[in-house]
């Protein structure tokens, strides 16, 4: 069985490269994903894929890079950075052509070599500021 950190890393990074097989391989059938930017959790591998597709449509050249991981018991904590160029609509914001960089954390709970549940918090506000949807504050 693949290492827990590697499972989580692949599930976070690979869909952005078009490798959708990792979702069937590593997301449990009863997968639940809690995302700080979403009012409702993503349910099942299909829900996870739909969430990826939404962001990939807005940032087609986007990539997520795992920066650090810590594992304990059946959980893996992952710190990651996402970067991509905004060429598709997201959150009602028309494409700007701007490249954005955001950071985030995901805690993943594994069951039987698959990710069963995840809690993700990421810099949504930073993305909105970088896209100009929220004015950049004047520096003191």
């Amino acid at each position: 069985m693949a290492d827990a950190k590697m499972i989580v890393k692949r599930l976070i990074e690979e869909p952005w490269k078009g490798n959708w097989d990792v979702i069937d391989e590593y997301a449990a059938p009863g997968y639940v994903g809690h995302d700080s930017a979403e009012p409702e959790p993503h349910r099942g591998p299909a829900g996870l894929r739909a969430n990826f597709e939404k962001y990939i449509a807005a940032f087609p050249d986007g990539r997520i890079t795992v920066d650090d991981q810590v594992a304990e018991g059946n959980k893996v904590a992952t710190r990651w950075t996402g970067r991509g160029t905004h060429t598709g609509e997201i959150a009602g914001i028309a494409p700007t052509g701007k490249e954005v960089t955001v950071t985030g954390f995901t805690i993943s709970r594994l069951e039987g070599g698959r990710v069963a549940e995840e809690w993700t918090t990421w810099d949504t506000l930073g993305m909105l500021v970088q896209l100009g949807a929220i004015p950049e504050p004047a520096h003191a």
Binding site: T87, P95, K98, V100, L125, E136, A140
Partner: protein
Amino acid sequence: MGEPGMSSAFAHSHHMPCAECGASVAADQQGDHVCDPERRLEYRLFLLRDEVAGFDEGLRGYLDSAQGRFAQWLAARDRRSEPRS
């Protein structure tokens, strides 16, 4: 929008897109950033995409108008009257 003072406490981002080329630049590297000319051109073209996309349609509309038809007729006549070299 809320009070500027409130948002300024929270809305700083570690990265911001360069205004000239759109590249994501870390706050501590903004002084050193040099735009890649190719990226800057792509960014400018992206910002003008609606105008670029509308150019062909605008040109077709102009050529179909009375002014456009006359301009075509005039250009053709001028071409015919140019001395052959």
